[in-house]
Subunit: 267 residues, 2 copies
DNA sequence: GGTTCTTGTCCATATTATGGACAAGATACG
DNA sequence: CGTATCTTGTCCATAATATGGACAAGAACC
C-alpha cells in the first residue's frame, strides 16, 4: 500500500516548529522600519498583532543577544549593532543593485530630479539607493534604508500593481494593522494599485510631502514577479503632463535594461 | 511581609522563554563565519552543539524567511539578503569605527604594512576594517567581514589577554567545539593569551599564512573591557626586533587615542 | 551495487513559549 | 500633590510548541 506523501514542500506550505523564530523576525522587521529612532514597545505590539508579554520577551532576549538596542532616553527599541556585523558576511552588493547601477546613473543624469531604487522585501518596501539630480530643488524625503509596508509608498503601489491582483490583495491585507500609522487603509491602497495597473506605472500627485509628485516604474525578475521599482520625485511644477511622459519613457527604457541585466546574470 | 525580589535582572542571569530564538541566532553567527561560501549543515551542528533535526528546522525556517540562503551547487547555507536589508536600518557606522578611523589612517601611513581593526562580537572576532600600506608586499589573508572564534586570530588572542583571566577562560571554553576546525585547542589558546598578557601585546610569529608575523594591540572601552584590537601583519623579514618595537609604539599610541575618543564620545 | 557520507523527515513527548492578570514606573492633569 | 492614564515589566498555570531519536533518502565514492 502506497503512502500518500505531501508534495515535497513546494515552497508554499509553511514549515512548522519555529513559531518563536518567525515571531522574532517579524519583530525585527518592525524595528527596522523605525531605523535609528526605534519603535516603542506598544507600536511593535500593534504592528505585529502579538501580545505584549510575548513581544516584551522577544525584544529583551534580542537585547541580551545584541541584536536589538534600547535607546536610553526614549526607551524605544531599535536594530542593534550585531545586525550590520552579521551583514558583513555578505560583502557583495545585491545582484539587483549591480544590475541597476548603470541605469540609475544614466536616468539620474537624464532626468535631473531625485531618483530612488526601492526593493520589495517580504511585505515591505525598502529604499536601497537614492540619486540626487542636477536640478537645484530636490525631494529628499525618503532616505536609503527607509522601510514601509508595501502599499504606503509610491514605489510600493507600483510593485503591487505589477503582481497578480490576488497576491497584491493578500499582501495589503497582511499589512492592514500597519497602514493606520500612515493614514491610509486597505481600500485606498487597492484603488491606487488598480489605477497604477491600468496606467502601466504609478503616479502620485500628492506625495508624502506637500507639493511633490512621484512617478514609479516597476522592475520584474525573469519569473515575472516585481522585485523593485524606480521612482522619480520632484516638486509638482517640474512634472507637467509633457515632462511626465518623458520621465516615464526614460524610466521604462532603463527598467527594461535592468531586467535584461538580471536575466543575463550581470552580477 | 516583604517579598524577596531578584535584583531587577542585572544583565547576568539569562532571561528565559526564548530558547528557540537564541538557538537561531547561534546558528546565524556560525553561518556568518562562513561568509559567502556558507557552511554545510553538519558543521553548523558541530559548532553549535545542537542536534541535527533542530539545526535543520531552524535553518530551513530562516530560508523561508529570507534570512538564510542556500547555495545551489554546494548545498551550503549562508547569510541571506535580508540581513543586509535589516542592517540598512542603522545607517551610521559604529561609534568605535568613527573613533578609530583617524588613528587607522595615521598608523597605516606610518607603518606601511597591512593594518586590521578587529572587534569582539559575542564569542567571535570580526574584522571590520583593513588598510593596505605603502610597502609593496602586503599580507591580505584576512578580509573585512572575516569572523572567527575568539582565540583563533592574533587579534582574538590580544582581546582575550586584555580581559580578566577567568572571563577569557570561559569564552575559550565556550568556543571549544569550534577550535578543532582551526587546528588549535583550549590549552594552546590559553597559553598564547597568557604570553600576550605578560608582554602587553600579542605577537604571532607564525601567522595563518607561512612566513608572516603579526602584532596585535588591544583597545579597551571606558569600562575597562577590551572591545577591539589593531593588528599589523607583514612578512617576517619586515618585522625584526627593532622594527617590532617601533610598530608596537605606534599602535599603542594610537590605541590610547582611540580609547580617549571613545570616552569623549567622538561618534 | 554496495559502503559511507550528508541531508531530510516523522512523530510521541517533554519542554518551552504563551498570554491573562497583575504590578510598577512615567507622565499628565486637576 | 494626589490620582488618573499611560506605557512598560513580571508572574505562572497551561496549552502548544519545539525537540531529538529513529528512520529514510540522496550523493559521492569505490
Amino acid at each position: 500500500m502506497d503512502k500518500i506523501r505531501k508534495p515535497a514542500n513546494s515552497s508554499a506550505e509553511p514549515r512548522q516548529g519555529a513559531q518563536a523564530i518567525r515571531r522574532a523576525l517579524a519583530v525585527l522587521r518592525i524595528l527596522a522600519a523605525g531605523r535609528e529612532d526605534g519603535v516603542p514597545l506598544a507600536e511593535v505590539v500593534q504592528a505585529t498583532g502579538l501580545t505584549r508579554p510575548t513581544v516584551h520577551r522577544i525584544v529583551h532576549v534580542l537585547i541580551e543577544e545584541g541584536i536589538v538596542e534600547r535607546h536610553g532616553k526614549s526607551g524605544r527599541y531599535a536594530i542593534g549593532n550585531q545586525v550590520p556585523e552579521l551583514a558583513l558576511a555578505r560583502p557583495r552588493p545585491s545582484p539587483l543593485l549591480v544590475a541597476a547601477r548603470p541605469s540609475l546613473r544614466r536616468a539620474s543624469a537624464d532626468i535631473g530630479d531625485t531618483l530612488f531604487l526601492t526593493v520589495r522585501t517580504g511585505n515591505d518596501t525598502l529604499c536601497v539607493d537614492r540619486r540626487i539630480g542636477a536640478y537645484p530643488i530636490q525631494v529628499l524625503s525618503i532616505e536609503v534604508g527607509a522601510r514601509r509596508p508595501l502599499g504606503v509608498s509610491s514605489a510600493g503601489v507600483a510593485i503591487l500593481a505589477a503582481m497578480a491582483a490576488q497576491d497584491a490583495r493578500r499582501i495589503v491585507a497582511a499589512n492592514e494593522k500597519r497602514l493606520d500609522a500612515y493614514r491610509t487603509g486597505v481600500a485606498t491602497v487597492l484603488a491606487q494599485v488598480a489605477a497604477a495597473r491600468r496606467r502601466g506605472y504609478n503616479l502620485r500627485e500628492i506625495g508624502l510631502v506637500q507639493g511633490t509628485k512621484s512617478i514609479s516604474i516597476w522592475i520584474k525578475t525573469p519569473d515575472g514577479r516585481p522585485a523593485a521599482a524606480m521612482t522619480v520625485s520632484a516638486v509638482r511644477t517640474r512634472l507637467g503632463p509633457r515632462r511626465e511622459q518623458e520621465v516615464v519613457d526614460i524610466l521604462q527604457r532603463e527598467a527594461r535594461i535592468i531586467e535584461q541585466n538580471i536575466r543575463d546574470g550581470v552580477a
